[in-house]
Every structure is written in structure tokens, then in C-alpha cells.
């Protein structure tokens, strides 16, 4: 399978964990990527053989950590490019998104990093609204909480998800800037995190809405 297609799959799957959970994922993916359903099925098998994901007996998908990492990396490039096109160049969002979709596969990490730095200058990057699966494009090293392992000390960068959903998390102290520690991680990414001296259990879909970065100190 060519690299571009592979990256597109991983980008979609890592961006919306609910697709993997949906048993009609083949249909959804085929629609997104304008492919036939049987092609999508073969592609998934190929991705499985390359170790990016596993197809569970019930038809659901589970991305491997490597798959998520790769998908997120592409998604980040997409976001940065799209942000640059709309905010800096004033292109309309649809064209910007399509354009970003093409360039994301060939842009080097360095280019994206520089571009992101440029965008990050105060007052540059606007237009981020809290919404489903939307991430602010100023995040550079932030990743979903579920990608980290037991014992890691992390800094919260943002809490996404649907508006209102994060209230309980915020109230328990999971707010931007706070340091949390993963006490326990079970295999389906249910987490026990230590925050403000108490331990809080999170379901995978909740933990997925929390963006964190490794503490540097």
C-alpha cells in the first residue's frame, strides 16, 4: 500500500477513536477515502500486517501505539498547514483543508516545526473552537493521555471533547498546567491518574480527551 494512503487511514483512525469502536468502520473509512468497501477491507488487513493496528474478532479496530503515533503526527501536520492556509493566507477553510491533505504527506517534520513556531507568535493563530475532536493548533508536543505509560509525570495542556463534558475533569484538577501522574494503565487504556493527591479512574474515551505533554524537568 502506498505511504500516502496508509497515513490517511491512520490519520482518520487516530483522530476519531469512535470509528475504531464502530463495527461498521470499513464502510465509514471507505466513504472518507473514496474507496470501495472491499478495498478498505484489504487495506485494513495490510495495515494489520504492518503492525499499525489489530482487527478484533468483533470487527472493531485497535490501533497500536505506533499506529496512533504515526496517525497523530500526520494529523498535526494537517492542522498546522490548514491553520497556516486559513489564518495567514486567508484561504477558505474547505480549500485549505484539501490542500493540507495533499501537502501533509510530503512536508518534512522540520518545515512543520518552523511553520508552527511562526504560527505560535502571539495573536497569530485564531479560529480554534472547542469542539468534537478538535485540537488547538498551537500544541506542539501535546498528545492524548492514553498514549503515555504507567509512572510518567505529565503536564496537562488541554481538555477537549464535547463542550461541558470536561467539567468534572476540570473540577477534579485536570486543568491546563496541572501535573498529573499515571498510576496504572490497563490494556484498553483505562487509566488511574494521580492528580492533586487523589487517584482518579478514567475510562479510555474520557482519557482520550485529555491532552498532555511530558514534563521536561
Amino acid at each position: 500500500m502506498d505511504q500516502k494512503l496508509c497515513e490517511d487511514y491512520l490519520e482518520i483512525l487516530s483522530g476519531d477513536p469512535e470509528i475504531s469502536e464502530n463495527i461498521n468502520n470499513k464502510e465509514i473509512l471507505a466513504k472518507y477515502l473514496c474507496r470501495s468497501e472491499s478495498d478498505a477491507g484489504n487495506d485494513l488487513l495490510e495495515l494489520e500486517s504492518e503492525g499499525y493496528l489489530s482487527i478484533l474478532p468483533d470487527g472493531k479496530l485497535r490501533l497500536s501505539d505506533e499506529g496512533i503515533k504515526k496517525g497523530r503526527c500526520i494529523a498535526k501536520k494537517h492542522k498546522v498547514l490548514e491553520c497556516f492556509f486559513t489564518e495567514m493566507l486567508g484561504m477558505d477553510p474547505k480549500t485549505a483543508s484539501e490542500e493540507a491533505c495533499e501537502i501533509e504527506h510530503s512536508a518534512s517534520d522540520e518545515t512543520i516545526r518552523k511553520l508552527n513556531q511562526y504560527l505560535n507568535r502571539p495573536g497569530r493563530c485564531r479560529g480554534w473552537k472547542q469542539g468534537k475532536n478538535q485540537r488547538p493548533c498551537f500544541e506542539t508536543t501535546a498528545e492524548r493521555l492514553t498514549l503515555f505509560s504507567e509512572g510518567e509525570k505529565l503536564r496537562v495542556v488541554g481538555v477537549g471533547g464535547r463542550p461541558g463534558r470536561g467539567f468534572r475533569l476540570n473540577d477534579l484538577g485536570i486543568v491546563p498546567g496541572e501535573t498529573i501522574e499515571i498510576v496504572r494503565k490497563l490494556d484498553r487504556r483505562a487509566l488511574l491518574v494521580k492528580v492533586k493527591g487523589s487517584e482518579v479512574a478514567l475510562s479510555p474515551e474520557i482519557a482520550n480527551t485529555v491532552f498532555v505533554e511530558k514534563r521536561t524537568d
Binding site: 498551537f138 488541554g158 470536561g166 467539567f167 468534572r168 477534579l172 483505562a190 493527591g197 475510562s203
Partner: protein, 617 residues
């Protein structure tokens, strides 16, 4: 005069309430067990005061049912003084709520509980300094020993004062609050709530939306998040200022093993299994005693009195219901609640919920739904009552699944019929059939139940040694629910059924259904009557069967497979009438009817399948 207790879950608030009022409210170590607002009275110097116990909440601005309830109450009712209970071992997190309370400008007395625990953990809090910063009186207590509890009411009467400390919000937020106050002439509190997006006032909300949009653009965070961060920072600042020598929290030695799949899951399985076995053995021993005492001292004397047939039928039904109720309630349900209370008080339940999260997701719920499911093994009635904190979708799924959980009454059927007359492996297979059906039902329901699935966000309760008094009083509270809700329904319906029998309606029913029962399930005609009695109270299916068959040695009148089918059908078939009533109360007519119809059909289908498969061989 009216006081109210407010605080995070698990800070000993309900325990303090109990000590102040002397009446029972549930004291729990599982976050969010008190959903209804409990209130009680306290007498001080010959005067009576009302105290309201709010449910444990983390914040006043959240969107959960409890948080909304407390917020509404604080804004609409007049409260003379709030008694804010703080956990000294988690001061920072508790101050977050207190800082929100400050914004409501109600006189407060701050109770700093669990000071003994804090000392053990090497946390020293400068009470005088905290009192200075907050600008109100601080009472350091140890509720488990009752220390300083007596100072609370005098303080609430005399020295309660508004908290002076205020959260300094981000300058954009402060500017937003100021302009809202100026533009719309509202209070600061109203402005804060509106900016957070939880006010009911549409005019204000419109103005606030423009402001909050701007702030969100600037900060790339939602206003709620910014304000929560500000509050946490202020709470951290205060806590740092007054706390010294912050020692490491001593971990309970086994704690880390409980939350791993191994050995966590085996431990969970052993704990649940031994709970059920203890309940079963202790329960059946006590039940036999109670039932035979009733038989000798109440039922037999009544029958030998030679009363008018109608009077005799009514009083007989009454006694039978009382006998069945007490025979199940005390031995099985009460023993079960004692076991569950020990698990809840020790803080183990929250760990079990964490481990079960994955399995519960499969059947459409999440870890927090484990407790209601476990409670269901004791009695379905309180189990259904404890699903309130789940989301709408989960409540619907839980209603179906909980009513299928074999409660202690159904355990009596399985043990009394199948284990005794067919064999223990067969009895275990009945459980397996039920568990498989629960899992399948859950899997199917996850596909068709509308609504969104919410995940678990659950704070782990600290592990601690359960105290006998606290455990017993909690078990007794569970028990009270059972007695006040289930028993009256049981008595009334037993008398109604007795009258029906007197009027010959039961016989007519039996005549209509007997052929169908025989054809589909291969059961004798009187079995249909027993099943009908089973709706009243599950284990009565067993007792009625024995009475109608004319012998307690059921093995001599029915074949093994007939007994097996009978047990399976009566275990699945329609929840008992008390469960239907509580389902109706909690979930409405539609769900109650759907659950009843589903279990009725499921019971009959599974029963006839077993019958036909067996006779096919």
C-alpha cells in the same frame, strides 16, 4: 433556622450529619451515594434547627444532577449558615469547592475533618492562618471519633461569617464580569455563572456569549477551563501557605495489587464469590430458623383457630407474606448488605469499579455501574434505586440488566430446587445461563439504546479499615430502604393474591394457562400458579410449588428436567412486583413495562428451549 452541610464526596460529611442529628443518612465511601437531599433536626439549648445534608460534590458549577441540585437550592432557599466540611488530607482540592462557595456570599463555618489522618501523613495545617485568609472560623475535627463535633452548631449560630477570600480571575474574565455587572445590573455571582454558561437568564447569556467568545479566542481555552484553572491556582496558593512539612502519603501495602488485572481480577472474583457464599450459608441457616418459628408460632395457630374462610384467607396471606419477607430480608438481604457495606467502607469498591470498567463497557455501561449490579445480588430494589448517578442511556441498560441479576430470593429458588433435587453442577449451570443472558442482553442493548455513552470519572476512595459501627449503620440503612419500599408492596399484593385465590380467579387462571404451560415448558398445571406467585416475591414460586404439589419432596412429583426448567423460568420470568414498582418510580411506565415484558418473554423462550432440546434427546 436552617443549616446545610456542603463538601466533596468522601470527606465524612454524612458521618458528621449523623452525629449532629442522630438520624440515619447513608454514610458511604463510594463517591456520590447520597443523591436525595437528606434533612434532619438538631436540638441545641432547647431550640430546634433544621440541617440539610447536600450530596457530595466536587464543584458548584458542574453539570451533574447533584451539582445542579445543590446550586439550585443555594440560590433559591434561604440558608442561615453553611457548614463546609473539608478533608484535611486533600486540602487543596477541597478549597476549590470552598472558593466557589465563597462566591455565594452565605455565612460559613469551615469544618476541617480527618485531622488525625492528616497528622499521620505528616501534613501540618496552620489553622489560625487558614482562618485569617478565609476570614471565618475553622473547627478541626475527627468525625470518626466524634472529636469537636459538638462545637459545630454553636459556631454556626454565633460566629458563621461570609468567606472573605475571593478567586482572582484572569484579567479578561474579571473585565468580562465587570462589564456584565454594569451592563445588566446583575450580581457578581450571576455574572460568573453566566460567563461559565450555566445561568438560566437568556438576556444575560446573550451578552455573556459575545464576551466569552472573545475571551476564548484570546486564550484558546473555554471560559470554564480558564476559571477552573484560576480557582485551582488560588486553592493551591492558599494550601501551600498554610500547609507545612508535606510528607509523602503512606500507601496501603496492598493497594498497588488491587488495580492490576493480575492479581486484581482474581482477588475481585474471590471477594465477590466469597461474599455470595457467605450470604448463602449464613442466610439459609437463619432463614430456616425464622421460617420454622413462624410456622410453629403463627401459621399453625392461625389455621387451628377455625376462622371464617375469608378472614382466614386474608390473615393467612398476610402471615405468609410477612414470613417470606422476614425469611428473606433478614437472613439474606441483611447479611448481604453487611458484606457490601464492608466492601464499600474499606474503599475496595472503587478499585473493583476501575477493574470492571472494560467489562462493563462491553455491556454498554462503565465501571461506575458495577455497584448497582453487585447490589442487585442482594435485592434488585435498592440496586435500581442506585442507578441515578448514571447517564440516561446507561440507566435504561442498567434497568434491564439489574432485573436479570439473580437476587437473594432467586438464589433461594436455585438452591432450594435445583441444588437439592437435581444437583450442584446443575445449579451452577443456571447461574451461567443467567450470566450469559445478561451479557447478551447488554451487548444487544448497547446497539439499540439511544443516547451517548459517558465514561467513568471516579475518584478512588482511600483504603481504610471498616469500622463495625459505621458498617452496621450503613447496612441498616440499605435495609431500611428495603423494608419501607419492598415490604408494604409485598404485604398488599399478597393479600390481593389471597383474595383472588379465595374468589376462584387463580383456579381460572390456572385452567387457562395450564395447557400452554404443559405444551411449551412440559410443566404440571399447578406450576403456572407457582410462577404467578413468583411475581409477588421470587422465592414464593418455590414455596407455592411445594404447597400445591402437596409435598416438600419435589423430586418425587416432578422430574429433574421439569424442576430445572421451572427454576430457570422463575428466575428469569418477570421481576418481582417490588422491583416493577421501583422501576416505575425511577424510570417511568414505559421502561418498567418493557423490562417486564422482555423478561417474561425471555423466561418463557429459554424455558421452552431447554424443554424441547431435552425432550429431543
Amino acid at each position: 433556622m436552617k443549616f446545610a452541610l456542603i463538601g466533596n464526596p468522601n470527606v465524612g460529611k454524612s458521618l458528621i450529619f449523623n452525629q449532629l442529628t442522630g438520624i440515619g443518612v447513608e454514610i458511604s465511601n463510594f463517591p456520590g451515594t447520597t443523591v436525595d437531599l437528606c434533612s434532619g433536626n438538631v436540638c441545641y439549648k432547647k431550640e430546634k434547627f433544621e440541617i440539610v445534608d447536600f450530596p457530595g460534590i466536587y464543584s458548584l458549577d458542574g453539570k451533574s444532577e447533584e451539582e445542579e441540585e445543590v446550586r439550585k437550592y443555594l440560590r433559591s432557599e434561604h440558608i442561615d449558615a453553611l457548614i463546609a466540611v473539608l478533608d484535611a488530607t486533600h486540602l487543596e482540592r477541597n478549597l476549590y469547592l470552598l472558593l466557589q462557595v465563597a462566591e455565594y456570599e452565605i455565612p460559613v463555618v469551615v469544618v476541617l475533618n480527618m485531622t488525625d489522618e492528616a497528622e499521620k501523613q505528616n501534613i501540618h495545617i496552620d489553622f489560625a492562618e487558614l482562618s485569617d485568609i478565609l476570614g471565618c472560623e475553622i473547627i478541626a475535627t475527627t468525625a470518626t471519633e466524634g472529636r469537636n463535633i459538638g462545637r459545630i452548631i454553636p459556631a454556626a449560630l454565633q460566629t458563621a461569617s461570609e468567606i472573605q477570600a475571593r478567586v482572582p480571575y484572569d484579567r479578561h474574565i474579571e473585565a468580562g464580569i465587570r462589564s456584565l455587572v454594569k451592563l445588566s445590573d446583575c450580581s457578581r455571582l450571576e455574572a460568573i455563572l453566566t460567563l461559565e454558561g450555566i445561568s438560566q437568564n437568556p438576556e444575560l447569556t446573550e451578552t455573556a456569549n459575545t464576551i466569552s467568545d472573545e475571551i476564548e479566542e484570546e486564550h484558546k481555552m473555554s471560559v470554564y477551563q480558564i476559571m477552573a484553572t484560576n480557582r485551582h491556582n488560588e486553592a493551591a496558593r492558599i494550601s501551600d501557605e498554610v500547609t507545612s512539612e508535606k510528607g509523602e502519603k503512606k500507601e496501603f501495602r496492598f493497594e498497588k495489587y488491587l488495580t492490576r488485572y493480575f492479581p486484581g481480577i482474581p482477588i475481585l472474583a474471590v471477594i465477590l464469590l466469597s461474599t455470595l457464599l457467605t450470604v448463602f450459608f449464613v442466610g439459609s441457616f437463619l432463614e430456616e430458623m425464622i421460617v420454622s418459628l413462624f410456622e410453629v408460632y403463627a401459621v399453625e395457630p392461625l389455621l387451628s383457630m377455625g376462622l371464617d374462610p375469608l378472614v382466614e384467607q386474608v390473615s393467612f396471606s398476610f402471615l405468609i407474606a410477612l414470613q417470606a419477607g422476614l425469611g428473606i430480608a433478614f437472613p439474606f438481604v441483611f447479611v448481604f448488605y453487611i458484606m457490601v457495606s464492608i466492601l464499600e467502607d474499606s474503599g475496595y469498591m472503587t478499585r473493583a469499579a476501575f477493574l470492571a470498567d472494560r467489562g462493563m463497557h462491553r455491556i454498554g455501561m462503565h465501571g461506575q455501574a458495577l455497584i448497582p449490579m453487585v447490589l442487585g445480588f442482594g435485592c434488585n430494589v435498592p440496586a435500581v434505586m442506585s442507578i441515578r448517578h448514571l447517564s440516561k442511556r446507561e440507566r435504561v441498560i442498567a434497568s434491564f440488566l439489574i432485573t436479570m441479576v439473580p437476587c437473594s430470593a432467586r438464589t433461594v429458588i436455585i438452591a432450594g430446587i435445583v441444588a437439592v433435587f437435581v444437583g450442584v453442577p446443575a445449579a451452577i449451570s443456571v447461574y451461567l445461563i443467567v450470566f450469559v443472558l445478561i451479557a447478551l442482553t447488554g451487548i444487544v442493548l448497547t446497539k439499540f439504546t439511544p443516547g451517548e455513552q459517558y465514561g467513568m470519572i471516579l475518584e478512588m476512595a482511600p483504603l481504610r479499615m471498616p469500622k463495625a459501627k459505621q458498617t452496621l449503620s450503613r447496612a441498616w440503612l440499605h435495609m431500611k430502604e428495603f423494608i419501607f419500599i419492598a415490604m408494604p408492596i409485598l404485604l398488599v399484593s399478597s393479600i390481593v393474591l389471597g383474595l383472588l385465590q379465595y374468589g376462584g380467579i387463580i383456579q381460572a387462571f390456572q385452567d387457562v394457562f395450564a395447557p400452554a404451560m404443559d405444551a411449551a415448558l412440559g410443566l404440571p398445571d399447578y406450576a403456572s400458579t407457582s410462577l404467578l406467585f413468583g411475581i409477588l416475591r421470587k422465592e414464593m414460586a418455590f414455596e407455592t410449588l411445594a404447597i400445591l404439589a402437596g409435598t416438600a419432596d419435589l423430586g418425587s412429583v416432578m422430574t429433574g428436567i421439569q424442576l430445572y426448567v421451572f427454576a430457570v423460568v422463575s428466575v428469569l420470568f418477570v421481576p418481582c412486583i417490588s422491583t416493577i414498582a421501583v422501576l416505575y418510580r425511577e424510570m417511568g411506565l414505559k421502561i418498567a413495562a418493557m423490562v417486564s415484558a422482555y423478561t417474561l418473554i425471555l423466561g418463557l423462550i429459554v424455558g421452552s428451549l431447554i424443554h424441547f432440546i431435552w425432550s429431543g434427546f
